[in-house]
């Protein structure tokens, strides 16, 4: 069945904003809505306009999907729990006297820059109404966060840990598991 020109334009507009699988699903529903209006006796153009009005404009649809996306929820969870996990790592680093470690200044600066970048990316993913931008920001933030947590975990492995310090390290490492799982969900949708 030939697709209405209006629906074709709408599909193209959606495709610029949302992944292909979501676009396919929406267009299937839109076509059925269009057919229902045609069946009710409306002309092709009026039926297409009515169907498009029911679905809403592509930008609003994108924002609704962004609001429900795992990228936004993950970013908000990581921002909310970040201070707590950060405090765990900080306690461990202080206990291990990390400032005495033989680490080049460049590596320390790189770590700090990556931390700032991760926080900025999480803030973008938590707020943006742009679906693709949120997904990319959350993906990069998760990769950065796993790198940071794994680096800290590996570095602290060399120091002697016991008792409650092990629990703090476990909290930090638990975030790696959470972040990797979240990353899979973000990339899957």
């Amino acid at each position: 069945m030939a697709e209405s020109r209006l629906i074709r334009d709408y599909r193209a507009s959606l495709a610029r904003r949302l992944p292909g699988t979501i676009v396919d699903e929406l267009i299937d529903g839109l076509e059925q809505t269009y057919q229902r209006h045609l069946g009710a006796g409306l002309g092709q153009d009026v039926a297409a306009r009515e169907a498009l009005a029911e679905f809403g404009d592509p930008h609003t649809l994108m924002e609704l999907f962004a609001a429900e996306a795992s990228a936004r929820r993950t970013a908000r969870s990581l921002l909310a729990t970040g201070p707590l996990v950060g405090a765990c790592w900080a306690t461990l680093l202080i206990t291990a006297r990390a400032w005495d470690w033989p680490m080049p200044t460049l590596a320390r600066a790189g770590f700090g820059l990556l931390l700032c970048a991760v926080i900025a990316l999480l803030a973008v993913a938590a707020r943006t109404g742009n679906y693709r931008r949120g997904r990319h920001a959350a993906t990069l933030a998760c990769l950065g966060l796993v790198t940071l947590d794994a680096t800290l975990g590996a570095a602290l492995l060399r120091s002697a840990m016991h008792g409650w310090l092990v629990l703090l390290a476990a909290a930090g490492c638990a975030r790696i598991t959470f972040t990797v799982r979240a990353l899979r969900r973000i990339r899957a949708h």
């Binding site: 069945m1 396919d24 699903e25 299937d28 529903g29 029911e54 649809l61 429900e68």
Partner: protein, 112 residues
């Protein structure tokens, strides 16, 4: 009925729409419209993102088919979804009974 009045109940409605068997997004919208004699006509744009969220939460599962040359995504309740629906239904009945009792309460002290 306005969509904002249903805030907090949309998930239960979507799960209930899938209780009889798998439905695609448009069929879910039609089910909600027809089962309420047109009184529940939710904006389409809220249904599809909510279905994706429920799928991600493991309450429903989606699958693709091809119908009339178009790809169609249908959803079915998972076991977790069935349990979630039962819980939300019980919660709604309790909530409705409490509100009903409060709204229909006689003036106090009741006239002799």
């Amino acid at each position: 009925m306005r969509a904002e009045e249903l805030k907090g109940h949309l998930d239960a409605l979507l799960l209930a729409a899938l209780e009889d068997g798998p439905r695609h997004g448009y069929a879910v919208i039609e089910y909600l419209r027809e089962s309420t004699s047109g009184r529940l006509d939710l904006p389409t744009g809220t249904i599809y993102p909510a279905l994706h969220r429920l799928e991600e939460a493991g309450l429903i599962a989606g699958s693709w088919s091809v119908v009339g040359g178009r790809r169609r995504r249908s959803y079915r309740l998972t076991e977790s979804g069935v349990r979630e629906l039962a819980g939300r239904r019980a919660g709604w009945r309790e909530f409705a009974a409490v509100v009903e009792a409060a709204l229909e309460a006689k003036p106090w002290p009741s006239p002799a």
